[in-house]
């Protein structure tokens, strides 16, 4: 395990009656990106806070950059960068002052800190606003400054908790580009997100967390495969009720067809790949229905995520797996 940036074993954390984490195991090999994907309240932030030494787990152990987070928090803190859910920068300091302050608190000299801050403001497109008070920044600029601050000490392990939440599409793309460069240069990154696209784009490995447990993990391709075979997309031509198409295709695949009435589209989870197509053609011929488009494809990560988390999708989606249905209600994070 010497080349693991993060190892967590059986992490558990409870806040009063709420079980935030219920035995989470994960590994982040050094130099890779782990995307932690999950709905709101899944326990993502609690996990980051434990790994960043902000709270102690009730049970389980975790090592970051080789150090036990409970036994050697200072050693961990000297080797991590954290950008939490809020842009934690002082509104009454300038961007540059914020960065120099944090750099110095990591033990840099004033000169080193200024040099490093100048480098990062350039790289994160903050140079033009660095001399202004943060109070005058837009949300996206503030967020970039926060990420820049977490990069100051060139940390071995970087934790980003929903880094692009609240950013506009342009800001999101800019941050993705920076994070891509960063991880290409060998920084180990643990990233939480609610955006599947973000996890797919940045992460080497993804773990999906729901109700404080890891319910799936793997590469994006493995997770898509885990969503149960392929998807058959059939589009009903205008004027033909897509529900009739769904009825004709019912029982064909491994799950019930999903109907998107507005788009006239029917999606059926199927197994066996292209071998299913003759049967599709036969059923269409028998029912006298036509399709304007027919495609067999791999499930999207979105579909995999919905299948695995059992979160409701639009329309009568695949029923959640038995394990999802078995989550006791008490484990869900109830609103206060």
């Amino acid at each position: 395990m010497a080349d693991m940036a993060v190892v967590a074993q059986g992490l558990g954390k409870r806040f009063g009656p709420v079980i935030a984490l219920d035995g989470v195991d994960l590994e982040l090999p050094a130099g890779t990106v782990l995307g932690v994907l999950g709905p709101n309240g899944a326990g993502k932030t609690t996990m980051v806070r434990i790994l960043a030494t902000l709270i102690r787990p009730d049970r389980g152990r975790a090592w970051v950059a080789g150090f036990d987070v409970s036994a050697r928090p200072d050693a961990v803190r000297a080797r991590i960068g954290l950008s939490g859910q809020y842009a934690a920068v002082d509104p009454f300091l300038t961007g540059l002052e914020n960065m120099v302050m944090i750099g110095r608190l990591y033990g840099m000299s004033a000169r080193q800190a200024r040099q490093r801050a100048a480098e990062l403001t350039e790289r994160l497109d903050l140079a033009s606003s660095a001399a202004r008070l943060v109070r005058t920044y837009s949300g996206g600029t503030r967020r970039r400054l926060d990420v820049a601050a977490s990069l100051l000490a060139a940390p071995a392990v970087l934790f980003l908790d929903e880094p692009t939440t609240g950013l506009d599409p342009q800001g999101r793309l800019a941050l993705w580009r920076v994070l891509g460069e960063l991880t290409a240069s060998g920084t180990s990154l643990l990233l939480t997100t609610q955006y599947i696209e973000e996890a797919e784009r940045l992460a080497t490995t993804i773990v999906i967390i729901a109700h404080g447990k890891v319910i799936a993990s793997g590469t994006p391709a493995q997770l898509r495969a885990g969503a149960g075979g392929d998807r058959l997309d059939a589009e009903s031509p205008p004027g033909q009720d897509p529900r009739r198409l769904a009825a004709a295709l019912a029982g064909l695949g491994t799950g019930e067809p999903t109907v998107d009435s507005a788009a006239g589209r029917v999606v059926v989870p199927v197994a066996g790949g292209a071998a299913i197509l003759p049967e599709v053609a036969a059923r269409l011929a028998a029912s006298g229905l036509t399709v304007s488009e027919l495609a067999l494809r791999r499930p999207t990560l979105q579909e995999a995520f919905l299948t695995l988390t059992g979160e409701p999708a639009a329309g009568p989606a695949d029923p959640p797996p038995a394990s999802a249905a078995a989550w006791p209600a008490s484990r869900t994070r109830s609103p206060k």
């Binding site: 693991m4 050094a30 030494t53 080789g66 200072d74 080797r79 809020y86 842009a87 934690a88 009454f92």
Partner: protein, 268 residues
Amino acid sequence: MTAAAQPAAGRGGRIPARTSVMIITGRNLRRLTRVPTLLVFATVQPVLFVLLFTYAFGGAIHVPGTGRYIDFLLPGIVVLAIGFGASQTGVAIADDLSLGMVDRFRSLPIPGIAFLAGRVAADAVRNLFVTGLMVGVGVAIGFRFHAGPAAALAVVALAVATGVAFSWLNLLLGLAVKESESAGLAGLFPVVILFFTSSALVPVATMPGWLQAFARANPVTVITGALRALCLGGPTARPVIQAAAWLAGLLVITIPAAIAAYKRAASA
């Protein structure tokens, strides 16, 4: 688990506590000059206190045994101004908590006490300025030290020490209530109550009997009494020791409690 990555800044573990306290003090002093409320609490308000209390009450109140009312008044309103100013420390830490700043600082390789001590140190600088400003304005309208320069320096030192205790108390309050408006009220409320039931404006002997016992034990009375003794002359040992005991007691309770609250602090 053996190959540990190099510490970020090339140094092992923590940076020296003194360095981190100085950096955080610098942050708070910068804020002091930029946050409008803080600026008002440190400049306009102390001057207004001196002028308003002197001219509004000074004509009506005559304190037997003292010359000018302002000689009697100034020590008490210095305590009031410092108490009001300290409420902003609770507001600031509650803001830091809700903005995620506390999380950020707690994820840095600095000792837990540095973040709080840096705040208290900046407050002490502010209180030095506030005390000087109030004495300056007071002197302009007739205030005089009657017990010599050493006692005058002791007045400033005791005022700043009072501010240190108030700052720790407000850090604790801010971390406990977690929300800036409540933190401001939680900081101001006790100061207002204790100020008006103390000897700050009028001698305790003029109060109704039931209030006198409370007023005499009131820490604002005790601290004002010590400051007044140092300003006016007369026996100082006993009042100063009493004031020091109050402040020491307050610090012994609030410092460990504030540090513990900071370490447990969660922004969510």
